[in-house]
Symmetry: C2
Subunit: 246 residues, 2 copies
């Protein structure tokens, strides 16, 4: 038996997220089905990040075990011939049997893409959050700086499962403008449920002038989801990459 690691990119628009669920088709389900067909066995992948419905990925990570003799690096090619065009395995490799995508130390990079324009663009409607009001980027950057470092992010977590420990570290939180787009890039050692999208929703309130940058410090200290802004919609979010330390 060998363990294989897949780096997976997908357009999340047509999927009910990563994790298998009864109400619709998911990335995990498609990967399981296509891998099982390809390798003639009942394959179940384990994903690093269970992205929500509509969220995209350029580098989510999954592992599975198999005794296939297909060379590890060829698996991506064979699998991509079977997969729908909105899911692409960008890399396949062998890892040690004890390697687990969620238990290893990792650094995750997310990007949230905003189309900041008076005019909507239907060609970007599934990958950019359309914001027609003017954004005060300097204030958003000031607020973002408060969130960098090790903090208890309980205010930035939608309650869904029991999370004992809501302390996480954000290494970088950059806001960049290019043409009519604003990109919020967040790099951290782990993220609570909806954490990136609540951070973005909160920073957008600052950008619109509803919150002062200082208020974000108070929101963090409140450790209360009610203190923060709304959860930004999923389609602007991309899981860009996961880097493993070990």
């Amino acid at each position: 038996m060998k363990r294989f690691k897949l780096t997976v990119a997908y357009d999340g628009a047509n999927y009910c997220g990563w994790q298998i669920q009864p109400n619709g088709i998911t990335i995990e389900e498609v990967l399981n089905k296509k891998l099982s067909g390809l390798l003639g066995d009942d394959i179940r992948v384990i994903g690093a990040s269970r992205t929500d419905s509509g969220v995209h990925a350029l580098g989510n990570v999954a592992v599975f075990d198999s005794d296939t003799t297909i060379p590890p690096e060829r698996l991506a090619y064979a699998l991509n011939r079977q997969l729908p065009k909105d899911i692409v395995v960008v890399k396949s490799e062998e890892v040690p049997m004890n390697w687990h995508p969620r238990y290893c130390n990792s650094v995750k990079t997310y990007e949230y893409h905003i189309l900041n324009s008076k005019i909507p663009d239907p060609t970007r409607r599934l990958t950019r959050y359309f914001v027609s009001y003017k954004l005060e980027l300097d204030k958003m950057k000031e607020a973002a700086a408060c969130l960098v470092g090790e903090h208890d992010f309980a205010s930035f977590c939608n309650v869904r499962t029991n999370v004992e420990d809501t302390v996480r570290t954000i290494y970088r939180l950059d806001i960049e403008e290019s043409g009519d787009e604003v990109t919020i890039r967040i790099i951290g050692n782990g993220f609570l449920y909806n954490m990136v999208r609540i951070i973005v929703g909160t920073l957008l309130r600052v950008g619109r002038g509803f919150y002062t940058p200082d208020r974000v410090k108070n929101i963090l200290e409140a450790r209360d989801r009610q203190a923060a802004g709304v959860t930004a919609p999923p389609h602007g979010l991309v899981l860009v990459r996961i880097d493993y330390k070990s």
Copy 2:
């Protein structure tokens, strides 16, 4: 009776192009249906550019006649509430009854978007042509310069209808690189059938080293479609805007 001009943006991925045809749903058909429903009359739009299946637009133009009392600038808003999300009317205005989107002097701007990377990106698969080989941009720019100006573009026209006059003027042909994307922007006073996509297909041959930049001059002089490169696929193409001189 009044004449109304619509500026229309759309994601062409799910449409069989602009012009009504028996084999699938088109932009023209959807606009006619929604306008007819909204205005309680049998409305038929006339489009400026009959874009192909899969081609996108940020600023195609259409006109129609109606005796509606809805203020011209409010039509866009009312129509967008009815339209599917991949079609957006970005502007509506009244024009003189003799104004025609195809008979007026106009300058059209097209962009062709290329993802030039080793790794495909499923989130951009419907709006970028994925080219994994290295492109020699300097040579492409040299070749592009040969095409600027007034020329007989017969070599860059796929035969479909009788075209008496294949002389057109390209005002600008710019090639820009940004990150992993290459954008070819073409501004001209009119374009033959598939002209932009054949120009792009030909420039890509230069970029790959199959054609010298000089060969593009010979292709132009040949006035023969067989001389030029293949037609680049539709999904990289966007009709950006149409500016009317009068």
